[in-house]
């Protein structure tokens, strides 16, 4: 596996090998699945949506429904307006969602389809809604696309002078259903009521009931998106994924908005809880304090196993930044930090974490717009003890015989991962346990018989 990857690094200007990102539309589709009774719709060729549904199904092990404008040669010449019109009619006739969330593709963007006017010209059934966002595949990545879709819902639906309500808005960023559930738990414990947009829990971690619903319960209700304009404040989590939604709600509705990193790691979770405390009149309850204490206890019990262990962390920018924070807190040394999503803000953020932990940057490589081939070459030149990242890293793990912990998106080769949060104290607890297990299993596998110890 990966025998052909040479150690010698050459500058590549045309070739991307083993990408560490995918395209905007799949992020848009995922975000749209987090809105109540919404059918995501891909305005492009039929293959796009087939790939997106497959990827989401492989990650969540759940059905992921979406429709397509099914472009033909004719549509690519004359424009996709007729396809969209036909699609919207067919979708409301047969599937009957409350809202269709259209995202564009590289094809419809390149031929210059104007979705704003297409949608204005639609003759919609009463009470039915169509929203859209622009997600050309040649800009940003799936994470950007996620943000674009959330912003699209806000642009179409959030009421400008909505009545003031005693709630906050919470944009959770590109995270798993398990993270959403953890956010909800923290909000409940802090007695903060929030409108969460989007909320893909239930849609993508649905329980087995023996019945199937094309539109599962859950998801952000349309009425809540409308009401977002009246919230006290919006907390937008994930500096990249939630940037566009944060800017949009602020400029459209004038809501006070704060863009924060994902609440990952001890300090990240502390900061988030303090933020919630500001918004609530209540102190942080003992339950969370005790939970934090148990986490610190675990990190102390195990810190000697992390000391000076070098780790490569790769995946989506917001998640990777959180994972770097966790690694630094545990005492691991993040040697390589990579995301495929372009944008230097990621590098700045990651470097700031090193500075905050007084960790030198000598020999550390941090890169946005990287691919896994390059990461592999770095590792070939100077190896690491552990990989933390997405499933495609397993090829490197096998080639270089390095243990690996799966975290982020996509994870295609494990089950149950999306139930577990990476955020909050439980997120760090889980990552610490997984990382410890991986390092210790490796030690047990490699050590001499006389060194095999039942007590560690």
């Amino acid at each position: 596996m990966l025998d052909q990857t040479p150690k010698e690094i050459v500058v590549r200007e045309g070739l991307c090998v083993n990408p560490l990102k995918t395209c905007q539309p799949v992020g848009a589709l995922y975000a749209a699945l987090g809105v109540s009774r919404c059918l995501p719709h891909s305005h492009g060729s039929q293959g796009c949506v087939s790939y997106h549904r497959t990827l989401l199904t492989r990650h969540f092990k759940e059905p992921a429904m979406a429709s397509s404008s099914s472009f033909t040669e004719g549509a690519s010449v004359f424009g996709g307006g007729a396809n969209l019109k036909q699609s919207v009619k067919n979708i409301f006739d047969v599937y009957d969602p409350d809202v269709i969330a259209v995202h564009t593709t590289c094809l419809s963007e390149t031929i210059g389809d104007d979705l704003n006017s297409f949608i204005q010209e639609l003759d919609l059934p009463d009470g039915k809604i169509v929203v859209h966002c622009n997600t050309p595949s040649y800009v940003g990545s799936h994470v950007t696309g996620f943000g674009q879709m959330v912003a699209g819902f806000i642009r179409y639906l959030a009421q400008k002078d909505a009545p003031k309500i005693d709630k906050i808005g919470l944009f959770p960023g590109f995270v798993n259903p398990g993270d959403i559930r953890e956010l909800k738990r923290l909000l409940a414990l802090m007695n903060v009521t929030a409108i969460i947009l989007p909320d893909p829990s239930f849609a993508l971690d649905g329980p087995m009931t023996g019945t199937y619903k094309m539109f599962p319960p859950g998801g952000t209700p349309i009425a809540d998106i409308v009401a977002l304009g009246g919230v006290k404040k919006v907390l937008a989590l994930g500096l990249l994924a939630s940037k566009e939604p944060a800017l949009t709600i602020k400029s459209r509705c004038g809501v006070e908005t704060e863009l924060l990193p994902l609440p990952m790691g001890v300090a990240g979770t502390d900061a988030f809880l303090l933020k919630l405390k500001e918004l609530s009149s209540q102190p942080v309850p003992p339950e969370l304090e005790l939970e934090r204490g148990r986490l610190i206890d675990l990190l102390l019990d195990s810190h000697q196993y992390f000391y000076q262990k070098k780790v490569a962390i790769f995946g989506d920018p917001d998640t990777v930044v959180g994972l770097v924070a966790m690694a630094l807190e545990m005492g691991l040394t993040p040697k390589y930090v990579a995301t495929g999503t372009p944008g230097e803000a990621f590098v700045v953020e990651a470097k700031a974490l090193f500075a905050a932990h007084h960790e030198p940057l000598d020999g550390v490589r941090i890169k946005a717009g990287a691919d896994l081939f390059e990461l592999h070459q770095w590792i070939k030149n100077e190896p690491v003890d552990l990989l933390i990242g997405t499933s495609y890293g397993k090829q490197i793990a096998k080639a270089e015989d390095v243990p690996m912990v799966r975290a982020g998106f996509p994870i295609l080769d494990r089950y149950g991962h999306a139930y577990h949060p990476l955020i909050g104290y439980p997120g760090t607890r889980r990552l610490a346990e997984l990382a410890l297990g991986a390092l210790m299993d490796r030690y047990d596998r490699d050590c001499a018989d006389e060194d095999l110890d039942v007590v560690m």
Binding site: C16, T22, V88, P217
Partner: protein
């Protein structure tokens, strides 16, 4: 067609029938939640298993990411094909043209990897902005002394079947310069992608019979093997949906006759082996084939029989890519004691649906290009116990309380040949008779306070 028990579009009604062939070979409706893919996907899945070729996707990142090592094809040699190579076109490339990036990528490939052959797949955007991909390919061939074959596969040009045809054209372009005589006593296998090692099983059968396999299109293939293909006496075509075009071209240009053959199920495998040796085998090879069939089918029956009591009387639903595979599956289910109550294909042909209709009961539902809500409604109506399908159908089946077997890219055990027939019985048993279903059933009767929301 009033039997359709729920709201479908009028246009879809013709594609759904009972015990009769449905209308097919139609474009999917705009707005449908179709299970189908695109032209690029068709070309990519056929060509990607060529293990030592370089598969370069010229376009934005998505098409490369989504098709990276998802095929499940195995190779005994190079692992190059399991990586993802792409020009990752960005906005400025779309505006100013992607050719410079493509040229750079080709030069970098030549520098880093020195491959024999590069396939360039041009995707949707490239089809619109009009990069002269062919010119870049010719330049690279001259500059680096490698073969560069262009597959113009914009997704919008049609559906998956067109992609299969484009792959066939690319394969012809690859093989055409090779020598075409003298013929040798050997065959080619077409349309087996070596999922879970299935090509190896079939190859071993022919090896034992004395008819070696020269080239396998494209499971476990290396470029040099494919170049021997014109010397074969017969093409044995497994996945007819993807390979009929190539078989026809090879017959036309090199005079190689071809047969359709299925290696799914004991009966079909035996039939395929017999038909092959009847056409190109000697008396001795026929005898060897009979000996192999006798030995292996008896072993398979022995391995299958423990599963039969657990499978008797169960109802099966089938949703696969092509109609030809569906035919084998219906027969296989029958042999295992299951009744097929629903058959669907993404892209079936009229003649295949004719056969399907002749094999199933009069009230079995037959659908072309089915969507999830149709699958759901008919599985429910027919009371299917198990669905055979691909990745997108799996969680749908589970949510409906229906067992599932992947007969597509995600199968992990070989389902072809005699050994595969026994594996298939085991796969169906393990999912139909899983202890987990008991918990699903008891959930409804538990006296828990809260019912499921919704």
């Amino acid at each position: 067609m009033s039997f359709v028990p729920f709201d479908v579009l009028d246009e879809r009604r013709k594609s759904i029938s009972k015990g009769a062939p449905p209308a097919c070979e139609k474009a999917s409706l705009a707005g449908a939640v179709s299970q189908r893919a695109c032209v690029f996907c068709g070309a990519r899945v056929v060509l990607n298993p060529i293990a030592d070729a370089f598969h370069l996707i010229h376009g934005p990142i998505g098409c490369a990411s989504y098709t990276w090592d998802i095929r499940g094809s195995m190779s005994a040699g190079s692992e190059l094909y399991r990586q993802s190579f792409c020009t990752d076109l960005r906005e400025k490339d779309v505006i100013f043209g992607g050719l410079n990036k493509l040229r750079a990528a080709l030069a970098e490939i030549a520098q880093i990897y020195r491959p024999k052959v590069i396939f360039i797949y041009a995707t949707c955007v490239v089809g619109v902005i009009g990069d002269d991909v062919l010119a870049a390919a010719r330049e690279a061939e001259a500059a680096f002394a490698i073969r560069v074959i262009v597959v113009q596969a914009p997704g919008f040009a049609g559906h998956k079947s067109l992609g299969y045809r484009l792959a066939g054209e690319a394969l012809m372009e690859l093989v055409r310069p090779a020598k075409t005589s003298p013929k040798v006593r050997a065959i080619n296998i077409l349309g087996d992608y070596n999922l879970a090692g299935e090509t190896w099983i079939v190859k071993n059968y022919f090896q034992e019979i004395g008819l070696p396999v020269l080239a396998s299109f494209t499971g476990d293939s290396q470029v040099d093997d494919l170049l021997k293909a014109p010397l074969a006496r017969l093409n044995v075509v497994q996945c007819a949906g993807s390979m009929t075009y190539l078989a026809q071209k090879m017959e036309e240009e090199w005079g190689i006759p071809w047969i359709k053959a299925s290696f799914f199920g004991v009966a079909d495998t035996a039939k395929a082996l017999r038909e092959t040796v009847d056409l190109v085998g000697s008396k001795e090879e026929r005898a060897k084939a009979e000996a192999l069939i006798a030995r292996e089918s008896s072993q398979a029956q022995k391995n299958i029989s423990p599963y039969l009591p657990g499978l008797a009387g169960k109802k099966a639903a089938i949703y696969v890519g092509g109609g030809f595979k569906a035919i084998s599956l219906i027969r296989q289910f029958k042999a295992l004691g299951l009744t097929t109550v629903l058959v669907g294909a993404q892209t079936g042909r009229p003649e295949e649906y004719e056969v399907i209709a002749s094999l199933v009961d009069r009230d079995a539902v037959v659908l072309d290009d089915a969507n999830p809500s149709e699958l759901e409604a008919f599985m429910r109506e027919k009371g299917a116990d198990v669905l055979v399908g691909g990745v997108k159908e799996r969680p749908l089946a589970y949510k409906l309380g229906v067992a599932f077997c992947d007969h597509n890219h995600e199968r992990k055990v070989p389902l072809a040949g005699f050994v595969g027939a026994a594996n298939f019985a085991k796969e169906i048993d393990l999912t139909i008779n899983s202890p987990v279903w008991a918990h699903v059933k008891t959930a409804a009767n538990l006296d828990f306070a809260g019912k499921f929301v919704g």
